[in-house]
Assembly symmetry: C2
Homo-oligomer: 234 residues x 2
């Protein structure tokens, strides 16, 4: 409960917020998807200095009358054409010299989106061009702006850890999927091969069978499953 009295009002009126030099605050977003059995991240080519021509995470400065989430929404729309994506806050980066222009503190947000959803939410029709394989981006000779390589590495680790104890892998799945496809996604995210029996046991509680089968490809039909959102990670 906040007490407001005359003395406090006066204090606030006289408060000079320019007493100290302030940092700038930006948001940067990491949008991951899986395409062609590869983990990819949305990146844009910088059109301006610094790091002109380098790949960067989409991001904007936070407006003085704008919440962090509003800045994320705006930045994503302006830089990628995507709308209606659900983001979670990842981490805030505050190294003093992370930007050559000035002190910029960046709050990073992450979204994990299935390829179907990503293309569906792409108003600009250009999203395919912005998808870059994470492994390629993290390679030594890839020119990535600012500390964005470090941010991507951090997010990559976070995903790997979280797959073990949560159901975030399902974010990358279409509504209906086969179990081999789900296993493949787990393998991509964990960056290792899994034993089918162990994998099936681990996820048994998290999926529900449908009456449907795959069709139309050269393999024999596989049963389709959906996410069982009431199930727990074992």
């Amino acid at each position: 409960m906040k007490k407001t009295n005359l003395e406090e009002k006066e204090f606030l009126q006289k408060y000079d917020s320019s007493m100290f030099e302030k940092p700038s605050v930006a948001v940067d977003v990491l949008i991951f998807t899986i395409e062609d059995d590869t983990l990819k991240v949305v990146m844009v080519e910088r059109e301006e200095f610094p790091y002109k021509g380098c790949l960067a995470l989409p991001g904007v400065f936070v407006g003085i009358e704008e919440s962090l989430e509003e800045a994320v929404k705006r930045g994503v729309k302006v830089e990628t054409g995507l709308t209606d994506i659900y983001f979670e806050q990842l981490y805030t980066w505050g190294d003093v010299r992370r930007d050559p222009r000035m002190r910029i503190i960046s709050v990073s947000y992450m979204a994990l989106v299935s390829k179907d959803q990503l293309y569906a939410k792409d108003a600009g029709g250009d999203i395919g061009r912005l998808l870059h394989p994470v492994e390629e981006v993290l390679q030594k000779d890839c020119e990535v702006a600012f500390d964005h390589k470090k941010i991507i590495e951090y997010a990559r680790e976070r995903i790997k850890n979280k797959v073990e104890y949560s159901d975030i892998a399902f974010n990358f799945m279409s509504e209906k999927f086969t179990l081999p496809k789900l296993q493949k996604v787990y393998e991509i995210l964990l960056d290792k091969e899994l034993y089918k029996a162990n994998f099936r046991k681990k996820i048994s509680n998290m999926v529900a069978e449908t009456e449907e089968y795959t069709s139309g490809d050269a393999y024999r039909p596989s049963k389709l499953y959906v996410r069982n959102s009431e199930g727990d990670c074992k």
Copy 2:
């Protein structure tokens, strides 16, 4: 790899970082411990407006030449007398009107510390006075500054979740402890009673027996255990 050329140098020299109005950035810290079988959080009484006289999390503005972690260290020392505490970043709070003075974005950091360690790291000798039971602080009629009640609630939830899949409960233990004591700490953090058999099974991998027993109290001696840092949460 950053390309620096004449054009970029010129751009950076001319860059006017005062083009846009900037928010202020602060760090706020949550230091939790367990004392008298109660989860407590370190809070200070505000000596100045706004929220004069209310409880607040220790915090400072981030200096323009100071990293977030440096600001945390400085703020904790100045406001609580504690030094050498390990913090993890928790979450960044950016609601536009969260402070009546001006736009302030706050990066919160959390530490979980055993009571023994907390008192050992207290240079000022005053830390006991700053410990407040989390449940009391979260009560409706407790006068807490800014959105700090919300931040504490968020941290409380995070701890509860993390206890389930990690070994963070051990942060609250002395070096050697009995299993009933460990169970009690789990119960406090999870806010529910646990069945002894299930609990012992869950933590069996995370503790190692010593040859020592408790002594000096009225009960019969109990075996002392240490954390087995190679063990995994089952």
